[in-house]
């Protein structure tokens, strides 16, 4: 087994392989699009791409948040709880403050982002100060979030009818709804943070080699907490877009985001070990997962096969796109 691994290592050792591997997620996406279009030509239409964009937008924001944490070599599994709390906070604030973004209601947006940031900070502090593995700390915080949102709503759904807010879904520019542009804007901000700020570079430093980063004088604990705060803020953006998509805020708003976002990040080619990948990879990953979800319905795959096929496609996408050379052991 070990000899086999070594042989794989030598085979993939080459800069050409590296540059090809970088594009594998994109190629996977392209192949999927071509495949679904071949089976049902309706798939390849602007209207369908707009539908995929609607389902991808909230997921993209959540996955981008998770990307920062994964780049550091940690993991954040609190998104279902955080998204639920932020969605409920947003909806409650908006409805309390007159129910429209046009007046004081806009405060609901920074309010939700603040809630996300606070939850992220708590998450990060528990992980760093109490030295609890991020996996466990964030998973538990996710449960806390679900409980908290349930407490706030009492199990009820909060409806948002503000036409201005719902224009994120209903108003289209160049065939795509506004929420797609909002998500793209969020992505560009995340890209800027990742590539052009010290903290962004520090995420890579911590993920690439924590000991080295510490030895060169970096306050690793601080970087980690900031990473979780940033993730929380992006989860809140995802929550707002999720509410925009359905007009409903409830505890179940967060449901499904954990699988969706972690899968997207990994399928996009960001290594779970940390230090490699980035937010553009995550965009490709989110699109892959949503194209699969949409495509399976469009080609009419029987529903009892869909979950299984999704799992298999995800495994193949990860197999093709992840650089396992650096992994002596897959954690």
């Amino acid at each position: 087994m070990r000899r086999f691994m070594r042989r794989v290592a030598t085979m993939t050792h080459g800069s050409m392989m590296d540059s090809i591997r970088k594009w594998v997620p994109f190629l996977v996406l392209l192949v999927l699009v071509l495949f679904f279009s071949a089976v049902n030509p309706h798939f390849l239409s602007l209207r369908n791409f707009a539908r995929i964009a609607v389902s991808s937008s909230p997921a993209l924001m959540v996955a981008v948040g998770a990307t920062f944490v994964i780049l550091m070599g940690s993991i954040d599994l609190s998104m279902e709880g955080t998204v639920a709390v932020c969605a409920v906070v947003f909806a409650m604030l908006l409805n309390r403050l007159g129910g429209s973004l046009a007046h004081v209601g806009w405060v609901a947006i920074p309010g939700a982002l603040l809630a996300g940031g606070v939850l992220g900070a708590v998450n990060g502090l528990i992980h760093v100060r109490l030295r609890i593995p991020s996996f466990m700390a964030s998973l538990s915080m996710g449960f806390v979030g679900v409980g908290l949102s349930l407490l706030m709503t009492g199990g009820n759904r909060i409806l948002i009818d503000d036409p201005l807010f719902r224009s994120l879904l209903t108003v289209r520019v160049l065939n795509f709804p506004l929420m797609a542009y909002a998500a793209l804007g969020g992505l560009v901000v995340a890209w800027f943070i990742q590539d052009n700020t010290t903290i962004g570079r520090n995420f890579y430093a911590v993920g690439g080699g924590e000991e080295l980063a510490r030895a060169s004088g970096l306050n690793v604990g601080r970087v980690r907490v900031i990473g979780f705060v940033l993730a929380g803020i992006f989860f809140a953006l995802g929550a707002i877009l999720a509410v925009a998509r359905l007009g409903i805020a409830e505890t179940e708003t967060g449901q499904g985001f954990m699988f969706l976002s972690i899968t997207s990040v990994v399928v996009g080619g960001t290594g779970l070990a940390g230090g490699s990948g980035g937010v553009w990879n995550t965009l490709v990953g989110v699109l892959i997962v949503n194209v699969i979800g949409n495509g399976m319905v469009v080609v009419g795959l029987p529903d009892y096969l869909q979950d299984g096929v999704l799992g298999l496609l995800v495994i193949s996408a990860v197999y093709l796109s992840m650089d396992r050379r650096s992994l002596s052991f897959a954690r």
Binding site: R51, G155, N156, L246, I248, E252, M296
Partner: protein
């Protein structure tokens, strides 16, 4: 040093006696439990009242539990007197929680439960009967399990027959489509009984409309977001061929309506099921054509009430006829015509129910398809 040896010997004998005695005691307990005359006695004046269910995030279960709380309050107790056993969709947890409750309070338990899936009902009922406590179940039960086989301890089982009402909503939908064109069905988790029955209702209705085609049926797992995604997939696949949507639950209908709204489609006929407050509002506005109310509030209250009053000896289940042991819960069709009246009566305020009128809203004894 002999006193030490003597002390040790004495202690050994004491321990042996203790072991023997406790073994005898346990054996005696078991024997007396086994020899106790069949149907257990009433648990006394103050049984603990508990509801075992999935969780409160879903409006349906939220109403069930609210009904349970209303019943508890009718006894002059605070809401907190109702013990919530939340199984989170796990049959194992459901059974483990119930067993823990029974080992704490023994026969002094009046339990209302949805066993989560059909096979789990038998172990739940057997555990309760074994402890001499009382249980009433809803929804999930295998056809070979009957309350009357357990004396008084398995008080009752209530379920809802969805085939008929679902057929009614389908007819309303098809009439709105003008009796022709294609429609799609979004179903619940494929193995759930209500999902199966609601689809069966649709198919029954389709038999009398040869010009209507069921383009596709797909499970969206009772989930709003999944329904949203599935509906947009349908729109890509069938486009304008879709003239109507039949949803197996309100929660999925919300996702469908939003998927349509995203496309600027406002007048597509949609029907759903469950009669949640938000859905009733949508029916009143004409965005949904019909939904079916199963009165979970009453169901949650009456199920706890049946177990409680059987435990306190107010009525003796084994003396009741079979249609009082296994019965269908109420179903009320809500259409655009009566949605406002319905809302005033059932949603804006919960009617004050007489929790001792156990079978007032029942729709007859459960019939099994052989």
């Amino acid at each position: 040093m002999s006193f030490i040896r003597q002390y040790i010997e004495q202690q050994t004998i004491n321990r042996r006696n203790l072991l023997l005695l406790s073994a005898y005691g346990l054996g005696g307990l078991a024997a007396s439990a086994g020899l106790r005359p069949g149907p257990a006695r009433a648990a006394g004046a103050n049984p603990k009242i508990a509801w075992s269910y999935r969780d409160r995030t879903n409006p349906y279960w939220n109403s069930i539990v609210s009904g349970g709380e209303a019943f508890v309050e009718s006894l002059g107790l605070p809401k907190s007197a109702l013990l919530n056993l939340i199984n989170g969709g796990s049959s194992e947890k459901s059974l483990a929680d119930i067993k823990a409750l029974l080992s704490r309070y023994g026969s002094g338990v009046a339990l209302a439960a949805d066993p989560n899936d059909m096979p789990n009902c038998r172990p739940v009922v057997e555990a309760v009967a074994g402890a001499g406590a009382y249980v009433s179940t809803i929804w999930n039960k295998t056809d070979d399990l009957h309350p009357w086989d357990f004396g008084d301890n398995y008080v009752s089982h209530m379920t809802w027959s969805d085939v008929g009402p679902s057929e009614q909503t389908a007819r309303i939908l098809i009439e709105a489509m003008g009796g022709k064109g294609g429609l799609v069905h979004l179903g619940g988790i494929a193995s759930n009984n209500p999902a199966i029955e609601r689809l069966a209702g649709l198919k029954n209705a389709l038999k009398s409309y040869p010009n209507v085609e069921l383009l596709a049926e797909q499970a969206a797992d009772w989930d709003t977001q999944k329904a949203n995604q599935v509906m947009s997939g349908f729109l890509t696949r069938y486009g304008d061929a879709i003239k109507g949507v039949h949803c197996a639950s309100d929660t999925m209908a919300y996702g469908v309506i939003e998927a349509l709204r995203a496309e600027g489609i406002e007048n597509m006929p949609v029907v759903s099921y469950d009669g949640n407050p938000q859905a009733v509002d949508l029916v009143a506005q004409g965005k949904l054509l019909a939904t079916v109310f199963t009165n979970p509030y009453w169901g949650g209250g009456i199920t706890a009430s049946l177990a409680y009053y059987a435990a306190t000896g107010v009525f003796k289940p084994s003396k009741e006829p079979k249609e009082h042991r296994e019965f269908y819960g109420p179903t009320v069709l809500v259409t655009t015509k009566d949605a406002r009246d319905f809302k005033a009566k059932y949603i804006d305020s919960n009617p004050k129910y007489d929790w001792k009128d156990f079978w007032g809203l029942s729709k007859g004894q459960i019939q099994y398809r052989s």
